[in-house]
Subunit: 275 residues, 2 copies
């Protein structure tokens, strides 16, 4: 991984041990967040770490990418001994830039890890999640990928109870890989008095947000809105991520990027009169 | 649909005929694009139209939503006789605001239509597509929803050959509804000498973008990047959207928002040593 970038300003001379896995770290809360710092610290124990993360918070960015606008990428020195870049784009942009610009023709990551997100990405939130879009982007590239989220939104959330699991899940994925086209959506319960009970491999719960728009007026009398909302869980099952978190388990949902509702193809073919 | 919005500035007195379907129109190219104008003109023939669309282009926004920032919503008068709002947010925001603010406790849309996008949203592009995120947001709300895209990126694309199909597909969806949790990703071939051959209900092709980052320098000598890329189709099948478009068919892919790779749950449960 010599000469990481082909220009004088960004060139670096970081040399990687060949026998250690290469781990690409990104997130959606931005490169200065506590969650990514925790993730980097854990990953340093497992392999060689490359960070390409947003230079500012990108929560709720879903699978947005930057088209029709330019991107910035700068070296960042906040992680001691770690090669890191901050990118002006979205989490998905970060994975693309790491793959196709920073590493380009060099060795590609053995695993992409994203997070640790400050806040839940269970059930329907997977669609809105920048954390998970980075992991899914990794899976599209054919790299085993994991999005980690802690169900605690606070800026100064306590990640100490999940470090062990972040490490063991990543090591497990490095050892066993993942089915093709699958990224893991891993959510951790917030720190509670009781210890975490274990890991549940489960499905995305049937739940959604019911939004409310709070209308206010700016000093010029023009209205603006804050989107708020309530999370509503319709799911009565015990095999889903909401149940797991509520019961102090870690939820692991294998996610795919083929959105086709395969069973609906036949239904529509039989049903429609205009084919 | 009287008193659409509860404040003096935005209040309107549009009255809807009860026997006509209510159609929510949005897009990701922005409210002034030719594609949404075409869509509004077709939908006027079918039912009552409400437009809530982005005030500026939002291509590539994926399923982004606006959190931690404010939103604007203003009445817009560019469509004669049509109630329309422009929103500063993403396509998904537009559907949420239409549902939970503009219509709130009133009658909800019978169908959500998004587009017509200037450019393809076949295969993997469904993930990056603002057009489709609006349709999927409609499906999350339980409303039959359709994203329409024309495989022609030009600002002044010719939509004349697809108007008939936009109308008939929407009417078909209104008559037959859609399976629960399914939104349609409809892509049209660009205008060619040969007429469109028909409609194929199909799956998302296995294809992806291979990005390239073009590096330039601003007048201050600081580098910036343009993301470009090549689309690579790995799919040899004939039952997918890429095949359909290449062969001058309309592709209709039923899409779901449950990302769970259900078959992988068992694999991982059997495979992992840390459960």
């Amino acid at each position: 991984m010599k000469n990481l970038l082909g220009n004088g300003t960004l060139m670096n001379s970081y040399t990687m041990a060949e026998d250690k896995p290469l781990i690409l770290v990104t997130n959606d809360d931005g490169i200065t967040s506590k969650g990514i710092r925790t993730l980097v610290n854990v990953m340093k124990q497992i392999g060689d770490v490359l960070v390409v993360a947003p230079d500012s918070p990108q929560s709720g960015m879903g699978h947005a990418i930057t088209v029709g606008e330019t991107l910035r990428l700068e070296k960042n020195h906040i992680f001691e001994g770690i090669t890191a870049f901050e990118c002006s784009g979205t989490p998905a942009d970060c994975v693309k830039m790491a793959r196709h610009f920073v590493l380009k023709d060099q060795r590609q990551p053995d695993v992409v890890v994203s997070g640790i997100n400050h806040g839940s990405n269970t059930s329907i939130s997977v669609l809105y999640s920048g954390t998970m879009s980075a992991a899914i982007e990794g899976a599209i590239e054919g790299t085993p990928s994991i999005g980690f989220s802690l169900c605690d939104y606070s800026h100064d959330a306590d990640f100490s109870h999940v470090e062990f699991y972040v490490r063991s899940i990543t090591q497990q994925v490095l050892r066993k890989s993942l089915p093709k086209g699958v990224a893991l959506n891993v959510n951790f319960p917030p720190k509670r008095n009781e210890s975490i009970k274990g890991i549940r491999i489960c499905r995305q719960a049937n739940a959604k947000w019911v939004e409310e728009f709070v209308q206010r007026y700016d000093p010029n009398g023009r209205s603006y809105f804050w989107m708020t909302g309530n999370f509503v869980n319709f799911d009565k099952g015990e095999d889903n991520d909401e149940w797991a978190i509520a019961n102090n388990y870690i939820s692991v949902v294998p996610c795919q990027f083929d959105l086709t509702a395969h069973q609906a193809i036949r239904t529509i073919n039989e049903d429609w009169e205009i084919l």
